[in-house]
């Protein structure tokens, strides 16, 4: 099966090239079908790889070709497919295909349809390189590629200036993280003279502990940038400027989880450094809690989901911080299902509302959008951890693992889960229950989305319902499939924290009771009493801090953006205009002046030329004669 590996990567690239170069001349349906097939076929090829790894249990190493050789440095384009990569590949190509189908419907009337599909395919290509690469260098290549695609797709509707700024912000913030990744690569190279996983990860114990800690922290900086954690998370909510399928695919299900993939892949490094683990845990908890609080007070349907994504990514990092790597991957998987579903559902709502994203204009959409309603309900229940939904299992595992690590961590994760339930139910009820609060025009326009959009919703809804089956805990006599599956990848030493089944039952019971009571409370508040979200000037006190995102954006604006822009203005006015411009323009006008003098000699009069020739000849003669 190893020979299919290049095709998995190449097909999306081919889709990108065809749609990118000739898309404007191709029929619209063909563009969508081509783009989708170029992701769907790799999905089936990936299933083949999965089967093979499942039966052999051995990772597949595949060196495609030699990239370059400089003295003793040899860089290969190679792939390393193990249990972790193949799992991620299934998520990316699987959810990617579903979202491609959805996009064909969602973007059908957009004039840039071919461009959109070209970018999406380029994204899938880069993401697959990131996941499948056999070295940190390959991973970095994909890492930059997805950053580029994210930029292109956030700024997809580039005619809106705000969207362009959002794209730029995402790009710059990601570069900060990339710098950390790059420095980590330099240090790894310095230690091992190689960037290949197979050369590095088994030999981590050969280098001293402080170096490992620095490498781990630098890698984590990269992960923080890509996975939108404090202090670099502000780009993700702004990234919602992109079309909704992009938010679902890139900014919820796949790209933002690259940081988690990076840490799971480098588990040997991280598990050798206690400090790095603790830093991850603290940053993750703070990020997750803060973004959950912010989400409580947002009124833009996509912004709520964006902060929710930041919060859930934080939970995954919490799992990484407590050393529960399989749990992080499990939550990553279920989150990919239900968050993609929620975003696509939000897209369907926005589509029906004619582009309106404000929750305060929605309400009562239940009877107009039945498919969207039911699938959104499933997604919401999954994310808040309603019993037996996918989110229930993954979140419960995080809770159990963090209780085993330290009860205080459990308490914070519990608080985050409670907040998650609050803001998600608020979003859900404000959208689908109560009275419709939009304009008459919007009300007449309300309609269920076409089948190409609702079918993906149902597929993801089924996955969100059943995703928990992937990793049924022993408590329910499951076999912990994912944990067993991933165990060959986790080569670092994990400190085992075990809690008894009785404790686990109690924790689960507490969670369930709290979730159910929040469900009841929200239903009462929003569906029965028809509470509505207050307008901006009515928000007071702490809520105002949440609504203004803890003023982090303002802080960055005042402390970083403004001074940089001020110094740029100084440089522009004084350096550029009065110094460099004058030198450059002075050179130009000097040449022009001399030329003006000299062109007088070119008067076109043959006699003068001849005279010049003769005089010249005489002068040369005289020169030779006297010298």
């Amino acid at each position: 099966m190893a020979q299919t590996i290049p095709y998995i990567v190449l097909l999306p690239l081919i889709g990108f090239v065809i749609n990118g170069l000739f898309g404007s001349k191709l029929p619209k349906n063909f563009i969508g079908i081509l783009g989708t097939l170029m992701v769907l076929i790799p999905f089936f090829l990936t299933i083949g790889l999965f089967m093979e790894i499942h039966s052999t249990g051995q990772p597949i190493q595949y060196t495609w070709f030699n990239w370059l050789t400089i003295s003793e440095i040899t860089l290969n384009i190679g792939f390393y497919i193990d249990q972790l990569s193949v799992w991620m590949m299934m998520i990316i190509t699987g959810i990617g295909s579903v979202i491609h189908i959805y996009s064909a419907g969602y973007m059908h009337d957009d004039e840039g349809l071919h461009k959109f599909f070209a970018y999406l395919n380029l994204f899938i290509f880069s993401m697959l390189i990131l996941i499948m690469g056999s070295s940190y260098l390959m991973m970095f290549f994909g890492w930059e590629g997805v950053g580029l695609c994210s930029y292109l797709l956030i700024g997809f509707w580039y005619k809106n200036k705000e969207y362009g700024y959002a794209a730029r912000k995402a790009f710059v913030m990601n570069r900060i993280g990339d710098l950390g990744f790059l420095l980590a690569m330099f240090m790894i190279w310095n230690q091992f003279k190689s960037l290949d996983f197979v050369q590095i990860l088994p030999n981590i114990s050969n280098i001293d502990n402080s170096t490992i800690t620095v490498i781990a922290l630098l890698l984590f900086v990269g992960a923080v940038g890509k996975s939108a954690q404090l202090p670099l998370f502000t780009w993700l909510p702004d990234a919602m400027a992109g079309p909704t399928p992009v938010s679902a695919l890139i900014h919820a299900a796949t790209m933002v989880t690259a940081g988690i993939y990076l840490i799971i892949r480098s588990n040997a490094i991280f598990l050798s450094s206690e400090l790095a683990q603790e830093v991850i845990l603290v940053i993750a908890l703070v990020t997750s809690l803060m973004s959950a609080l912010i989400a409580l007070q947002q009124n833009d349907i996509k912004k709520v989901l964006a902060y929710s994504t930041v919060s859930q990514l934080g939970l995954m990092f919490v799992a990484l911080g407590v050393g529960a790597y399989d749990t992080a991957l499990f939550h990553l998987t279920t989150h990919a299902f239900f968050k993609a579903l929620l975003f696509l559902g939000a897209g369907s709502v926005i589509h029906a509302m004619g582009g309106e994203q404000d929750l305060r204009s929605m309400g009562g959409l239940k009877k107009y959008l039945p498919s969207t309603y039911w699938t959104f309900l499933i997604g919401t229940l999954a994310i808040i951890g309603f019993p037996l939904m996918s989110g229930f299992f993954s979140k419960d595992e995080i809770l159990a693992k963090s209780f085993a690590y330290a009860p205080v961590v459990w308490g914070l994760v519990m608080a985050i889960s409670i907040l998650t339930a609050f803001y998600m139910l608020r979003l859900f009820y404000l959208t689908f229950f109560g009275d419709f609060k939009g304009t008459h025009h919007q009300k007449d326009h309300l309609h269920e989305s076409p089948a190409s959009m609702t079918i993906p919703l149902w597929i993801l809804a089924i996955l969100s319902l059943a995703g928990g089956l992937l990793n049924i805990p022993e408590l329910f006599h499951g076999n912990h499939f994912l944990a067993t599956w991933l165990s060959p990848v986790i080569t670092g030493k994990v400190e085992a924290h075990h809690i008894s089944h009785a404790t686990e039952w109690i924790l689960m019971g507490v969670t369930t009771i709290i979730i159910l009571s929040i469900l009841f409370y929200s239903y009462k508040k929003y569906a029965v009493n028809k509470a509505i979200a207050p307008s901006d000037d009515q928000v007071r006190g702490l809520n105002k801090t949440f609504a203004n995102k803890f003023y982090i954006d303002d802080f960055y604006d005042n402390v970083i953006v403004e001074p940089v822009q001020f110094s740029s203005r100084i440089a522009h006015d004084y350096m550029e205009k009065s110094l460099i411009d004058r030198i450059v323009e002075g050179t130009g006008s000097l040449v022009k002046g001399i030329a003006n003098l000299l062109r007088k000699t070119q008067n076109g009069n043959l006699e003068v030329y001849l005279l010049g020739m003769v005089v010249g000849a005489i002068l040369i003669f005289l020169y030779n004669y006297w010298m």
Partner: protein
């Protein structure tokens, strides 16, 4: 024939030099001051022939045939040059209805 050769050999070489110098100077001055292109071409021929004369004279003086060979070459080239020059001149005349050299100022910068 021998008489003629003897007569020519009898003329001192510096006379030839002065004659060539005068012919060449007349050629140069003609090229520079005359505006009729036909005259200018004739003056160029004059300059060439002044050189030819000098070559032949020195060739005889030094008893070296190479100079005379050069003269033949120069005459061939001069004939070709005159043909091309006159052809150009005819084209110019057809286009401008004049052979005045000062009309040719199209290259003015």
């Amino acid at each position: 024939m021998n008489q003629v050769t003897a007569l020519i050999n009898g003329v001192p070489v510096d006379h030839y030099v002065y004659l060539s110098l005068i012919l060449f100077s007349i050629g140069i001055v003609g090229v520079l001051i005359r505006r009729n292109m036909i005259v200018v071409l004739m003056c160029i021929e004059l300059m060439l022939n002044a050189v030819n004369l000098l070559m032949a004279a020195f060739s005889t003086y030094l008893n070296d045939a190479a100079g005379q060979i050069f003269v033949f070459f120069i005459m061939v080239v001069a004939a070709a040059e005159a043909a091309v020059g006159l052809a150009v001149l005819i084209m110019i005349y057809r286009n401008t209805k004049s052979v005045d050299i000062s009309n040719l100022d199209k290259l003015k910068g």
